[in-house]
């Protein structure tokens, strides 16, 4: 299924990447905040695919990010692997863990799946907290930075660009996947599993596959996170972080990848811009969340879908021909 809002989110990505490329050094603070937003966006896209496309919930999603982060960080720091290899290895092991968890998830539904994934997150947290090799509660420090073909990404701008480039590729890939026979099958599974199976769609296979993709995206995000910060600790991968991801997905709109991206940016930036309100910050943040959900019950994806319609309408007025398939912006 074509995702509404894919044109608008393209503009969002273009804006972010241009901002990262031209921002002066004094803008370092917003660049850092938005870098973290990019890492959250990568994970949230995976979680939204999981919840929005196959109806599977995960309350321990950052467990996969922890696997990616600690494995990649450890290989970089202790084994001195090149970043590319450590990154791929961390993401792959997170994905493989996703196979195991996804397979178990097949038998569970709703609150039972929520509990099982909560337990998974707890187990990973417990392991990195207790093990010696992960540095225990203090975590792992002095993790080497990201690098690509020997070029070390040291400046905040470079890191920002790398993160958002990955986020853009992930988003484009997932939008393309959803706009295919597989996306159609996922929509069918989400709306009516029995009818999907009766049409010959292998429901179990797709549910596991999406679990693996979501786990891989968390792993990718985690591996970049470890090198981005240069240090990680168990507290970065707790239940709160998994819940925060769930909030991003909800505010973005279940099933809307474009909405997820904008929600990740907004919800990461919002608390930072509220710093001046000090003690009222948590209250103001909560109020903003409630307001967003009340105003846009369909999520921010809804807003982007409207924006897309205006863009398409505007292009019809101007002598610009958008090459869209009839179902691209239709009712489907």
């Amino acid at each position: 299924m074509a995702q509404h809002g894919f044109i608008s989110v393209g503009f969002v990505f273009a804006g972010l990447l241009i901002f990262g490329a031209v921002a002066p050094f004094e803008m370092i603070y917003p660049i850092q905040v938005l870098s973290l937003a990019g890492l959250i966006a990568i994970q949230a896209v995976g979680l939204n695919l999981l919840i929005g496309s196959t109806g599977q919930i995960s309350l321990g999603q950052v467990g996969f990010a922890a696997i990616g982060a600690y494995l990649s960080g450890g290989l970089l720091k202790m084994e001195h692997w090149p970043f590319e290899l450590a990154f791929v290895c961390g993401s792959m092991v997170a994905a493989l863990t996703g196979v195991v968890v996804g397979f178990s998830a097949l038998r569970l539904r709703g609150q039972y799946l929520a509990m099982a994934t909560l337990a998974f997150g707890g187990i990973v947290f417990g392991l990195v907290y207790e093990l010696e090799i992960t540095g225990g509660p203090l975590g792992m420090l002095r993790i080497p930075p990201m690098s690509i073909f020997g070029y070390r990404l040291l400046s905040p701008q470079d890191k920002f660009l790398a993160i958002w480039l990955v986020a853009a590729i992930v988003t484009a890939a997932m939008l393309s996947l959803l706009w295919s026979r597989i996306g159609r099958a996922l929509a069918a599974i989400r709306d009516d599993e029995v009818a999907a199976a009766a049409l010959g769609i292998n429901v179990a296979r797709y549910k596991i596959s999406i679990f693996v993709i979501a786990a891989a995206l968390s792993g990718i995000s985690g591996a970049m996170y470890a090198s981005y910060l240069g240090g990680i600790a168990p507290s970065r991968f707790g239940l709160n972080e998994s819940i925060a991801l769930l909030v991003v997905v909800t505010v973005g709109g279940l099933g809307s990848i474009p909405g997820t991206i904008v929600a990740a940016v907004l919800l990461t930036a919002l608390p930072e811009f509220m710093r001046q309100y000090e003690i009222y910050r948590p209250t103001a943040y909560a109020a903003a969340l409630v307001l967003l959900i009340v105003l846009f019950p369909g999520g921010l994806g809804q807003v982007l879908a409207w924006a897309d319609r205006y863009i398409v309408a505007a292009c019809r007025l101007l002598p610009i021909r958008l090459r869209t398939r009839p179902d691209a912006l239709g009712a489907s």
Partner: protein, 266 residues
Amino acid sequence: MTAAAEQVVIRCVGVSRQFGGLRALANVSFEVARDTITALIGPNGAGKTTLFNLISGLDRADAGRIEVHGQAIDGMQAHAIVHSLRLVRTFQSARLYSKLTVADNVRLGRHVRSRSGFLSSTLKLPAARREERDITGQAMRWLDFVGLGHRANAVAGTLSYGDQRLVEIARALATEPRCLLLDEPGAGLNAQETNALANLIRAIRALPMTVLLIEHKMDMVMAISDQVTVLNFGEVIASGSPGAVQRDARVIEAYLGKGEHHSGSD
């Protein structure tokens, strides 16, 4: 043996299914011959839909054996039955994806006959593009077959009830089955629509296709069926040509109750 097996598309032998204390099917045996229309009739609660669920792999029998094209289906999952045994079913309440377009609903039927994986679908490789064009072409072909080609871009939920049933049939046909199970396709249709449906089912048989049909509209059943099997309280009480079944004393009793009666017309 093989020749006989090829003539019999579905064979149930002593099939039983119990839900707690309720005996939904008891020792049901019957056969569906190739390229015929076989109707499964019986009062509400006779176990017709339960039998469909067993044959299509959505439920498992407690005892007995179900064969499709001579192959036992026990343990096969629903999607594998559609894929390998080429048997597909529709539902009593048309289970369309009401938020998707009519065309997308029928495209979903092509899923099982297409194979582009995650990578080629994401990268939109030439093979995936070609396959997607084929999916659309086939979907349109079957929509035209049921006479709804002009509604392809409509949202499925906005179609009339009768048209939704037709889309569901088109979607099932798009899976390229050799055997089609229709669960009360005539329910809720007016006289004109019922007539058109009868003609459509005949056209489906001529494809050729084996059709097994649950239906309450007796006029239609008697007009189009080659064979009728009657279920009552989970048991087969009669099986034969429409005329013979209509004259069967047990069938008349099941439908009209014991007492005075002269004919079995519904």
